[in-house]
């Protein structure tokens, strides 16, 4: 599978996760979100950027419970809860946000 934007093609796995981390760009994240019918707001970007930093540091995409707790620590308890995160990413915060962040599917996700 692959995603096409502006005439360029990017390889993905069968669920739409980027095959190569280094292919990622803001434009690509926005294109992937649009395909899911989702417009990325600042609140979305906060989570996406957080995930990219988390991966950079730990070489792993966190499971949803871990993400929720870590967001709570970083951005406050009003954002570190599943209600807030599921509203932003209805397909599952870790799964969906990791996809837009260009990361593999989270470890501990099935």
């Amino acid at each position: 599978m692959s995603i096409e934007i502006e005439g360029k093609s990017y390889e993905t796995d069968e669920e739409g996760y980027l095959a190569n981390l280094s292919d990622w760009s803001h434009e690509l994240a926005e294109a992937m979100a649009r395909m899911d019918g989702c417009d990325l707001t600042d609140n979305h970007w906060e989570v996406v950027n957080f995930l990219r930093e988390y991966y950079e540091e730990y070489q792993i995409a966190p499971a949803v419970r871990v993400l929720t707790k870590a967001i709570g620590k970083r951005l406050g308890k009003d954002k570190g809860n599943s209600k807030y995160l599921y509203e932003l990413f209805p397909y599952g915060p870790a799964k969906q946000a990791c996809k837009y962040a260009g990361l593999p599917k989270p470890t501990g996700c099935v």
Partner: protein
Amino acid sequence: MSEPDSQAGGTVKKFLYINRRAPHGSNYAQEGLEVALIGAAFDQDVAMAFLDDGVFQLKSNQDTAEIGTKNFSATYRALGDYDVKKVYVERESLESRGIGEDELMPLVYEDEDDDWEEKPLISVVDEAELREIIDQADVILNF
């Protein structure tokens, strides 16, 4: 698998992951770590024991840039985020390999209920303590 699976009511079993392999010569270490994290994400009670060449997995300052593999040693630092709070390292294995306790990665977990205070994750245990730890696990997985 030492117990029947017929426990209703969500009894949490104690899982012990025994890691005995060096990190970069084979995939065992990386896969063991991933399986332990997945288990922890599903709220298992997860403990990890590092012995024999497994103690090398926790050596600080691993840098795989030149050998062109993923530096998954960074991922051990996520164990605390996954609520793994028991990481045992066998003293005898460290000693015979010339590795000091202070040469292990300083793994910590942040205690949510204590203003995110960082607390150490690793306990160096001797053979006798490790025997008890193994004895008390409900399920043991080997990597």
